[in-house]
Symmetry: C2
Subunit: 271 residues, 2 copies
């Protein structure tokens, strides 16, 4: 999916919500545990319940890998289900990969050829040749810039000799590798005023914003400082939607929570 | 395995070789492709051929993930085979993971509880709370410091306002999180003189050194600048050993290549 198509979907649905499929076997409704593939059954119900109100899904690989082979089967089935049933959804493999060139190339093949997602989150620590193999595919790299966790201050917020923070250098340097047509950035929503700095260096890029909801960020602040002429935001909510209810009506509750966020997003969208 | 046991193994075997199991289905001997699980059959033969000459194995997750579920089964079987057949081998999952706390915790569970490896490679970009969940297990974190690829100059080698490179800050800051009894660092061998800087900040830690062999580093230089009072080095070779020969005698050739490296290592080991 290209940038224009993504923006069209956002305008049509009045939503820039990304639903994070951080599906933890210990947190899904207990009655699903009797299913042969409880993770997939849960995801399918969540997807069917939320698809009208979001434009993207973001399965977090850690949750699937933690269950070994069974988890990876559930991941692949989930991606395939979204791809075939809701082809207008943007699918992000939240994997935070990054390795030397030949290894990154294999990760890229896994996600873009095998699983067929639209985007992969990538860590910038190893630099250009660790990121470029992902760009060789007709897909998106979502590069970690400023994350929402407390550890972001350890390295991302330290200044270099020129007064630039590491996350700013990531924004600047990575734009030599690709454009806003194939690269986005992860920007943690708990630091709303930081969006001014981000937009200074990346005015036109889409930003993937985790941390609204359970992690404490404010949607209003994100929109005020982060939105651009093509929206430029994908705001993720995971736990606040998918684990809002552990009873048999979990899917209806997820739908209700997604609608609540979508309705707020609609207020901020002026397109 | 603790640090003392690892050092004892190194002294006994006169080797600090780590064999990288970067097993690429497109590079293994063609006659193995008729096997039901060619990756595992290949790995098992390589392991049996090299185990006397090395102290560690490092399966690179990218190679297994790129094959989807079948690859992950091969990974798990490989780790289980090493664990049961050669219990004195140190097993490193080369995964370069790192995410917010609850997600890193799941990766940690995958590798330490499910796959039962001794160590996981972790990216430091997201800071303390992305690394600590791995330390909650009785296993090792091998943190990326200075990598062997050209992209290492993009961020790792840039200096902050105090004249410290990012990789030096990683070495300093991370020692507040754990000691040399549970943390090692990845240090790329193509930059031999850099070991002086590394040892200035991490004199007692083990260093995992990729990049000797196919990636061009010199073992002599690594030992000259990097070895400490307990060896303090695990030097990895992957392609130079496992893909040295694509005929039916690939395992014998791998054994021969491992012996060659072990014999050179023996010269530098003064224990």
């Amino acid at each position: 999916m290209n940038k224009k198509e993504l923006f069209e979907n956002i305008k049509r649905k009045k939503s820039f919500l990304c639903v994070g499929l951080d599906t933890d076997i210990r947190k899904i409704p207990p009655h699903l545990l009797q299913e042969e593939d409880p993770i997939f059954v849960f995801n399918k119900a969540i997807i069917d319940a939320t698809a009208p109100y979001c434009v993207a899904y973001k399965p977090n690989l850690a949750f699937y890998e933690s269950m070994g082979v069974a988890g990876m089967i559930a991941f692949e089935k989930t991606v395939a289900y979204i791809r075939t049933t809701y082809p207008d959804q943007f699918i992000i493999a939240d994997a935070k990969r990054g390795d030397i060139g030949n290894t990154s190339a294999l990760y890229a093949r896994s996600f873009f050829e095998h699983a067929k997602v639209d985007a992969v989150t990538v860590s910038p620590y190893m630099g250009e040749d660790s990121v470029k193999p992902f760009l060789a595919y007709n897909g998106w790299v979502i590069l970690l810039a400023l994350t929402s966790n407390t550890g972001s201050k350890d390295f991302q917020l330290t200044e270099d000799a020129d007064g630039l923070c590491l996350f700013e250098k990531v924004l600047l340097r990575s734009q030599e590798w690709s454009s806003d047509e194939q690269m986005m950035y992860v920007v943690g929503a708990t630091q709303g005023s930081m969006f001014l700095k981000i937009r200074k260096y990346a005015p036109h890029h889409f930003l993937l914003v985790p941390g609204v909801g359970a992690q404490g960020g404010s949607l209003e602040e994100v929109c005020k400082y982060g939105m651009n002429e093509q929206c430029g935001l994908l705001v993720n909510a995971s736990r606040a939607i998918i684990f809002a209810d552990k009873t048999a009506s979990f899917a209806e509750t997820a739908s209700y929570e997604a609608i609540k966020i979508q309705q707020e997003m609609k207020l901020y969208l002026q397109f």
